[in-house]
């Protein structure tokens, strides 16, 4: 108790010195009538206090208005709403539209960057973009070619530009940025091109680079303090990353950072995950390959790592660790805890103490997950925090040129980037998932800068002996590590969820449906088929006393590529060919925003 007053005054002090830029964004985020950041808030909860649309009346929902983006590619992310303006982004060429909500969505301004189309082929798996960010009267766009642009939110005029990476080396971008305090924090893609992943902070006012922290490499590059940076409570020691690689492989070692970022202003920390080590052939990179596949907690001002946790040491399946980190304040055994919950591609749902980095829960959020029997939770054990790998599904142990079959989940993970939502009312997480397994055969590959560096052959198919579909939409209890309910879906659920105070949860399907389900039971309350498959994230806002729900349609991304023609299970033997649903039987390319409201 003694310490507490001291602590709070410390926080007050630091808030006072914070750039006013951030106060603006914080105010916008706190107002449920806006949608001021892609993730709903810094905690990444994707929860809205709006309840005009609720479990009782959502069945009456109607389309209020629509907008075509003019681009026919995978549309991830969502629009923002700040004041009278809605900001809509597109996949490559990354157009930004400012729509005047006070004037029937009239286009106030449009920004279309000039980008070299040479960047397109170095973007693995479609040219998606997960949206713009707002702060300090500016709209921040992180383009495919890694240029970060600050646009005047009123006029669309360019205020500054910064170049974050080099597409000729395979560095590209698909992610949004995190505007926090006086900085813009951005990641990088290119794990399939041997990129050395990094996060970088730019000055929000000027675009000047403030710090850069790599995921793999020497301590001064990864911004680790060997004594202070901890992993599961212990200092990591010197050269923690270098020691876990053979030779110079870390230089092309991956660990890219293309997911979602959250922030805890009280702790002055931000959170994100790193992607796969490259190549996909584990035999070419002996060691744990730290800090790929890792949850990072870093200081917002300096970038220094406070704690890390590597979920999948020495990845053998391409289970990138980039999915969102959802921050919640909940009670465990009567004690208030500051938690971080993360649904990893590897099929495990993790609950951690976000201050200390202590691992509290690691449980499968799809029962078919089979590559591991579970994580060692005994702090006294030598293998504390490590997943126990099942030999049969170990592509490392089976070796190069051997086809390991029946691995669940597939490389796209039990969940990919499509963000989950959390409702403080139900204390449940709503998670869009994939229900897909794979065969994986690694083989030797050569590295050429700017060329794909993959080194494995994959075949994917719906989880065998299950409902035959390729996805589930689940509700998850992060304290007990349990699925509360699960809705089977024909296709992977590749859309970000939204939970609201109206006791409903929204998500989109690859066939193109916007669905609303009851937050307690999962009962379906509403569906509407939009013009194209949905891989965007549901958002909501209020205007003139009316609540609206918006979603981008436009099939594509990994899902559109993998599922367009449908999947087959090579292990079913001949005859099963074409036995699974093909996305192309349900939907076609598109690029549209659909906005819903209750009838007048």
């Amino acid at each position: 108790m003694r310490k507490l007053p001291l602590l709070t005054s410390g926080i007050a002090l630091c808030v006072a010195t914070m750039a006013s830029a951030n106060d603006d964004l914080m105010t916008q985020m706190d107002d449920p009538k806006q949608w001021a950041i892609q993730t709903g808030d810094y905690a990444n909860q994707r929860y809205s206090e709006l309840d005009q649309i609720n479990a009782d009346n959502v069945g009456d929902l109607q389309v209020a208005w629509t907008f075509s983006t003019g681009v026919l590619r995978g549309h991830e992310g969502s629009p923002l709403v700040i004041g009278d303006t809605m900001y809509v982004h597109t996949p490559f060429p990354n157009i930004v539209y400012a729509l005047d909500l006070a004037d029937e969505g009239k286009i106030k301004w449009k920004y279309e960057p000039r980008q070299d189309p040479e960047v397109i082929p170095v973007m693995c798996c479609d040219t998606v973009n997960r949206g713009v960010a707002y702060a300090d009267g500016k709209i921040f766009l992180h383009q495919a070619d890694t240029k970060v642009v600050a646009l005047n939110a009123d006029t669309g005029a360019v205020e500054w530009e910064a170049v974050n990476g080099d597409p000729s080396k395979g560095e590209t971008n698909t992610a949004t940025v995190l505007p926090v305090k006086d900085k813009i924090i951005v990641g990088i893609s290119g794990g399939e091109f041997g990129v050395q992943g990094h996060v970088t902070a730019y000055d929000m006012k000027t675009g000047e680079q403030v710090w850069r922290a790599y995921s793999v490499g020497p301590d001064d590059q990864i911004l680790f303090d060997p004594e202070k940076t901890t992993a599961l409570g212990e200092p990591v020691g010197a050269d923690s990353s270098l020691k876990s690689w053979e030779g110079d492989q870390w230089k092309i070692g991956g660990g890219t950072t293309w997911g979602w970022y959250s922030a805890d202003m009280e702790e002055n920390l931000f959170y994100y995950g790193s992607g796969n080590p490259s190549t996909w052939n584990p035999a070419q990179r002996p060691g744990d390959n730290k800090w790929s596949m890792t949850i990072f907690a870093r200081d917002i001002d300096t970038g220094e790592a406070k704690w890390v946790y590597q979920m999948t040491p020495h990845d053998e399946w391409d289970y990138d660790g980039v999915n969102e980190m959802i921050l919640t304040d909940q009670e465990i055994d009567g004690e208030a805890r500051k938690l971080l919950t993360h649904f990893d591609r590897n099929g495990l749902g993790y609950t951690m103490d976000r201050v200390s980095g202590e691992l509290l829960v690691a449980e499968k959020f799809d029962p078919v997950v089979n590559w591991t029997t579970g994580v060692d939770m005994d702090p006294e054990s030598d293998t504390y925090g490590r997943p126990a790998v099942v030999a049969q599904y170990s592509t490392e142990q089976n070796g190069e040129d051997v086809n390991s079959t029946g691995i669940c989940p597939a490389a796209l993970g039990t969940k990919d980037q499509q963000p989950s939502a959390y409702s403080p009312k139900t204390e449940m997480f709503y998670v869009p998932t994939n229900h897909v397994c794979m065969d994986y055969e690694p083989f030797r590959v050569a590295y050429t800068a700017g060329q794909p560096y993959v080194g494995a052959t994959l075949a994917m198919y719906p989880a065998p002996d299950s409902h035959g579909g390729m996805g589930n939409f689940i509700a998850w209890d992060n304290i007990n590590g349990e699925i509360k309910w699960s809705i089977p879906e024909k296709f992977s659920v590749w859309s970000g969820a939204l939970a609201t105070a109206g006791d409903i949860v929204f998500y989109g399907t690859l066939e193109g449906h916007l669905k609303a389900v009851h937050a307690e039971t999962g009962e379906e309350l509403y569906r509407f088929k939009t013009p194209s498959g949905i891989i965007g994230n549901v958002m909501t806002y209020e205007r003139d006393g009316k609540q609206y729900v918006g979603i981008l349609s436009g099939v594509g991304g990994w899902a559109g590529i993998g599922l367009a023609a449908g999947l087959t299970n090579p292990n079913d033997g001949l005859g099963a060919v074409g036995g699974y649903a093909a996305l192309s039987d349900y939907t076609a390319l598109g690029g549209q925003l659909t906005v819903f409201a209750l009838p007048n």
Binding site: P117, C125, F443, A446, Y453, G560
Partner: protein
């Protein structure tokens, strides 16, 4: 242009005119002869060979593997096409071998629809015949979707070529 890429490009340009004309006239699928585990048409164009019991030639099997490593992230599984890029099982049958080669070596740009150039990528170039015959087999429905169940052994000559090419 890197040496490897320009080398292949020149070789292609030289061979192109005469061979393309010949190919139109002949059968682009049927095996005319076998040499060191590789199969060719009468016009010396690489092709697949599937035995009655479903055993595929090594190149077709290898092409399955390489395709699903290098190409499927855009062109979808089994050469079936995707929301992003065309169905190559059709292209391999419909396109001239040399045109197919040239698109992969040099890439192709069509507005915002871009096929990368792989001319300096050994993981592709050393296996392009493999990928081509595999896709042709898919296009002719000579092999089903998925991993070919049975394959011929890898001929020593093929192994030697691979070692030379991959360096």
């Amino acid at each position: 242009m890197t040496p490897l890429r320009s080398l292949i490009a020149t070789a292609l340009a030289a061979g192109l005119a005469s061979a393309a004309a010949a190919q139109d006239a002949g059968d682009n699928i049927a095996v005319a002869y076998e040499e060191d585990g590789r199969y060719f048409t009468a016009d010396d164009i690489p092709t697949y060979n599937v035995a009655e019991d479903g055993t595929v030639d090594w190149l077709t099997f290898s092409g399955f593997r390489r395709y699903h490593s290098e190409c499927h992230v855009c062109h979808g599984p089994d050469g079936e096409g995707s929301t992003y890029a065309p169905a190559l099982k059709k292209s391999a049958v419909e396109m001239d071998y040399y045109d197919f080669y040239s698109v992969v070596v040099n890439g192709r740009e069509n507005g915002n629809s871009v096929m990368p150039h792989f001319g300096d990528n050994r993981n592709v170039m050393c296996y392009l015949d493999d990928i081509y015959v595999y896709l042709k087999a898919r296009g002719m429905d000579a092999v089903p979707r998925g991993r070919p169940a049975k394959k011929e052994a890898k001929a020593d000559a093929i192994q030697e070529d691979e070692n030379d090419c991959m360096g």
